[in-house]
Symmetry: C2
Subunit: 190 residues, 2 copies
DNA sequence: TGCATCTGCCTAAAGCCTTTAGGCAAACGG
DNA sequence: CCGTTTGCCTAAAGGCTTTAGGCAGATGCA
C-alpha cells in the first residue's frame, strides 16, 4: 500500500537529533519521530530497539560530533590557544544543538560508554595539558577540573543562569578561560 | 469508604523527593506517588496542579534544603575554610540525595526562580568571595566559575564519570578546591 | 446532639505514549 | 518470473496524565 519510506537506524537517529534540538531532548519520543516520517509508530521498532535505545543513539551521535569538532579545533594548536579552542567547541556545540548536548549528558552503561567517543574526549583533554607542566596525579585532577568547568558552565548558561545579568556570558567565559590558563601554569603542589 | 489519608502538598512533595532519591528524578510520576500513598491517581490532583508542578515542588524543596545547609556551613567561616565547607555542602547533598539534586537542575521559569532559594545560593557564593580580593566585574566572573565547577564536578561524579579510575573522586575534589583557592588569591587581571 | 456544608478521595473516561504480535505487499535475488 | 526477504501496517494491551462529576466522612454551627 504505502510506498516504502526507507527508514534506517541512521536516518532515525539523525532526525531524532534534529527533533531534540527543536523541542528538547526529553520531548523526543518514538511517536513524534513516527509522525515526522509520516509512518506508523510500530514501524520504527524494526529499526530501533525501544525508546531508550533511540535516546542512546542520539547521545552517541552527539559525542561523536563533538569529538570530531574538538579534534579539528585542536589540530595545530597548543597551550592556551588549544585550551580556548577546545572549550569553545563545547560551548558552541551546546548553543547550536541544545537537544543533542542534553543527550550527551545521558548516563550510558559502562560498556556503551567505553565504546563511545567519550574516550576520545578524555584523551584530547589530556593532550591539551601537554602544553602545561603537570605530572600525575595532578594531571588527572586538572583533567577532571577542566571537564567540570566546561560542562558546568555550558549547562548553567544553557539553563539560562547567566542571561539578563551583566556582564554577559561571553565575557565571563573569556575571563574564566584566562583564569584557567593561569591556574594550569601555576598549579599548586600538595 | 476508604478512610482519609491526609494528603497535603507538603506531604506529597516530601514523599516525591524521597521517591526521586530512590528511583531517580525522571521516574517520579503522579501515578507512582499515588501508589505510594495507596490512593487513586486522580486524588493527587486536588493537591498538586499537575506532573510538572510536582517536579517543580521537589526542585524548590531541594534548593531550600541546600541553601539551609550552606548557610549553616558558612557560619563563622571565611576564606578557604568557607570555600571548602560550601563546596562540600553541594557534593554531600548530591551524594545523599541524587534525585533531589537532579530536581534542583530543573529549569524554572524566571518568576519561580526569582522567588526560590536560588537567590540565597548566589548571595552566599558572593559572600565567600569576600575572603578574597576581587572587585567587579571579576567577582561576578568568579561567582560563575565557582558555580560551574561545583555543579559540573558534582554532575560528572554523580553520572559515574570518575568511578573506577585512580585517583579517587575525593582526592581530586580536594585538590581542585586547593587549586580554586589559589586561583582566587591570584586572579589574573585583564 | 443534630444538621448542613465542605473537603477529600473515588469512579469514569479520554488522550497520548510504549511495546509486542502477526499480516501483507513491495523489493530483491536467482 | 517467482520465491524469499524485508518493511511498513493493523491490532491490541498496558501505563501515565488530566478533567469531570459523585459520595461520604469530617467540620462547624446551633
Amino acid at each position: 500500500m504505502a510506498a516504502r519510506v526507507g527508514l534506517t537506524p541512521e536516518r532515525l537517529t539523525q532526525a531524532a537529533a534534529e527533533l531534540a534540538d527543536e523541542v528538547g531532548f526529553d520531548q523526543v519520543t518514538v511517536s513524534a519521530l513516527a509522525r515526522h516520517f509520516d509512518v506508523k509508530v510500530a514501524s520504527l521498532y524494526s529499526h530501533v530497539k525501544n525508546s531508550q535505545d533511540l535516546r542512546t543513539r542520539i547521545a552517541l551521535l552527539a559525542l561523536e560530533e563533538m569529538a570530531d569538532r574538538a579534534a579539528d579545533a585542536l589540530a595545530g594548536r597548543a597551550g592556551k590557544d588549544a585550551l580556548t579552542a577546545f572549550a569553545d567547541v563545547y560551548r558552541d556545540y551546546a548553543r547550536e544543538h541544545p537537544g543533542r548536548y542534553a543527550a550527551a549528558q545521558l548516563r550510558l552503561d559502562p560498556e556503551t560508554a567505553a565504546a563511545s567517543a567519550g574516550v576520545r574526549h578524555a584523551a584530547m583533554t589530556r593532550a591539551i595539558l601537554r602544553g602545561y607542566d603537570l605530572t600525575e596525579p595532578d594531571q588527572t585532577h586538572a583533567v577532571r577540573m577542566l571537564g567540570s568547568v566546561f560542562h558546568g558552565y555550558v549547562s548553567l548558561e544553557l539553563a539560562g543562569g547567566f542571561s539578563h545579568s551583566a556582564p554577559d556570558a561571553q565575557e565571563s567565559w573569556s575571563r574564566i578561560l584566562d583564569a584557567l590558563d593561569a591556574l594550569l601554569h601555576n598549579w599548586p603542589t600538595a
